[in-house]
Structures are given as structure tokens and as C-alpha cells.
Symmetry: C2
Subunit: 229 residues, 2 copies
């Protein structure tokens, strides 16, 4: 499903201010696997996830999505690849303020050429799956933080993508709601073979993944040398 080789990302900020956010990351995720990514704040987790999701370009190294290197594609082809293969849950949600929960979720189905009635029907179904059946007509500013996060999760899942990349999808919700979301991911993994890469600070998520990759200052560290393990 996803593979990286020698992946690095440096943010240039003029003079000698550059930040090496990610250094020399080799990663292989099989189709249907569930991988956790943990690490201290600022260790490069979101940077890695953005590169895996083709939302950013590596400084050096390569990413392969089902054998395709996105950097060889033009912008249109790259966003078509992304729309077909990846559901993304952003750390800061990125919901559209003037749209309702239902509209925000249905929007994700437009690139798939799904008709309007079906888009909205599927949006309502997935919102019910994340426990928001009674908030479908609320705008983001009429929802709590955790509810907004669940709308973002619903939007990522509504297209039934083969790969889910989720950046702390349970960071704003309570333990009970978090378990409910993780169970939903597990069902989709078992029934549809969904490949899952999830960034988290929550140690209980380790119970829901096959293995966990630990990042420290942009480097992948093995379990033993990771101070926080």
C-alpha cells in the first residue's frame, strides 16, 4: 500500500534557520495493516503523514502509493490519485465554516462523481456512525470541539478509501467516544481491508494497531531506544 525510502523533509526559513522535520525515514505499510505513529510534540508525525498523503513533497527520498511515485505526476493526476486512494483526517479538522456537517461530509464525494441525493444520504449514514445523527444540520461553530473532529473523521471515511491517514483523530474526544471511533476503524479494516496509519498521543490506541512507529526529532527510533516507550 505505502512505502518510503530515505524520506526527509526540511523546512527552509532563510539564512541558517532551516528545520529538519523528518530525516531518512524508511517505512513499509502493507495493504490492510494498521500502523500507529507516536512521538513527542514536534517530532515530525504530521510532517510524515502529509508526505504519505501526497499533501506535501519530500526534500529528499521517495514515497510510493501502491507502486506509484506521486512526485512523477502533475498536480491534477496527483490529486486524482489522492482522492481515489486516501481519506485524510487533519489535526486541525479543516472544516468549511459556512457549510453544515452534512454538507462538509457530502462534499468529499463530489470528486467521485456521486449524484447529490446519494452524496447526502451517505453523509448522513457516516455521521450517524460517528454518533452525530442529531447534529447533521449544525455548522462547525455550532458544534463542540470533539463533534467537529468527528465530522472530519466522517468526511475521511465517506469515500470508502483504501487508505486512512488520521492525525490524532481522537485527540479532542473522551475515552468512550474514542473507543467508539477506534471500533469503527477496526470494523472497516476487517470488512473492507482498510489500511490505517494513525498518529496519536493516546497509549490505549496501541491496543488497536498492529505495530507502532516511534519518531524522535524526525528520526524513526526503534522501541528499545525510545525514551518514552
Amino acid at each position: 500500500a505505502i512505502e518510503t525510502h530515505g524520506l526527509s523533509r526540511t523546512y527552509e526559513r532563510g539564512e541558517d534557520n532551516a528545520v529538519d522535520a523528518l530525516v531518512d525515514v524508511d517505512l513499509a505499510v502493507e495493504a490492510g495493516e494498521r500502523i500507529g505513529i507516536m512521538g513527542t510534540s514536534g517530532s515530525g508525525k504530521s510532517t510524515l503523514l502529509n508526505l504519505l498523503g501526497t499533501l506535501d513533497q519530500p526534500t529528499t527520498g521517495t514515497v510510493w502509493l501502491d507502486g506509484i511515485d506521486p512526485s512523477t505526476l502533475d498536480d491534477d493526476a496527483r490529486s486524482r490519485l489522492r482522492n481515489r486512494k486516501i481519506g485524510f483526517v487533519f489535526q486541525q479538522f479543516n472544516l468549511i465554516p459556512r457549510m453544515t456537517a452534512e454538507q462538509n461530509v457530502a462534499l468529499a464525494l463530489i470528486p467521485r462523481g456521486v449524484d447529490r441525493a446519494t452524496r447526502h444520504e451517505r453523509a448522513r449514514e457516516v455521521l450517524a456512525d460517528v454518533g452525530l445523527g442529531d447534529r447533521i444540520d449544525h455548522h462547525p461553530n455550532e458544534l463542540s470541539g470533539g463533534q467537529q473532529q468527528r465530522v472530519a473523521v466522517a468526511r475521511a471515511l465517506v469515500t470508502e478509501p483504501p487508505i486512512l491517514l488520521a492525525d490524532e483523530p481522537t485527540g479532542q474526544v473522551d475515552t468512550e467516544t474514542s473507543e467508539r471511533l477506534m471500533d469503527l476503524f477496526a470494523d472497516l479494516n476487517e470488512q473492507l481491508g482498510l489500511t490505517i496509519v494513525i498518529v496519536t498521543h493516546d497509549p490505549t490506541v496501541e491496543d488497536h494497531v498492529d505495530r507502532t512507529v516511534h519518531l524522535s526529532d524526525g528520526h524513526v527510533v526503534d522501541e528499545a531506544s525510545y525514551a518514552g516507550a
Copy 2:
């Protein structure tokens, strides 16, 4: 420090769509106390915190801040009261995108009439306290999610307010960074008598507060009747 009596908040949405976010909450927080607020997603935690912080007005009931009822003041007097007494950490950070971390934090000292050089010096000190000494000239979009959150915490603390109202201040950071923030709050509580009200989903925060208030569907429930306790 803070007291509420019969506090309720209903969000009107036309027709029969109203949401009773908070119902009949009686709460008393002594000066220097540390209180946690927990509850499932959508149970009214942020609504309660916004009312305690005079950022919103109750539908019924009263809030007293050191004996003053903010609803009896005009807008200017209410924001002066807020600036003098409260440091607020928002759930969604609310940083100013075109300002650096240092500028975002220094800005909070302008209503206090502090001169520019001192504002920036104090901003750098508090940013170092939250572990961001090497990111002071980064804009929010050049910071990770957890780093942005820590800038928001620094901005709430830089004015050395008597009361800190924090809405999931450690939701975006790892366990280690979270402990560091909670220790910082504990130091300020012991040394300056800081009163702390903290909304959280993190059960380990219970070790850092004197008592925890549990909300369920807008109601305060006692420990025993709270399903998740």
C-alpha cells in the same frame, strides 16, 4: 474566586431546534483551588468554561467573579474585568496567523499597559517555560499542533492572571509534554496561588487537581452516578 448559581445556556436555532447545552449548574471554586471538568464530547464543558470566563452570557442563572456579576457591566468594563482576572486557553487555540509565537504571546500584555521591550522579554520567558525557546520566531503555520497549543498556553499565563481557564490544554501533546505543562500549572498554583479550572479528557489530569466536576448532557452529575467514572 468563581461562583455560579442555576447557570443554564440554551443555543436557539429557530423553530424547535434549541440545544440545552448547560442546565442548572451550581459551582463554587475557591481562590487557589484546582478543579477538573470532565464529560463526554458535547456534554457542555466548553460552554461552561466560556460562561465562567465572561466570553458568553448565560440564558438563566448567574456567574460571580470575585463577587462581581459580569452581566451587570457594559462591554468595556466586562473585558477589563476579564483581562485583569482571567487567562484563557481556547480549545482551538485562536492564534493570530500573521504573528510569530513571541508576538502572539506579547500581545496579551498590551491591555496591561506593559512597555514593548518588557512585553517581548516576558513572552520569550514564558515560551521557554513551555519548551518553545527555539520556536519564538515561528508563525502558527510553521509550528506543529502541539507547539501551537503551547503558544496558546503561554499567552494565557504571560499576564500572570489570578484565574486560569484551560480547555483541554494538553489535548494535542504527548504524555511527557503534558506532564511538563501540568507541572508548570502546579508551580504557579503553589507560588502565585493561581486558581485553575481545566477541561480535560485525560484521566491522568485527575492527579493534578483537587476535585473533578463531571458533566453529562449539560448537567453536573455526582461521581457515583457518572457512568464513565
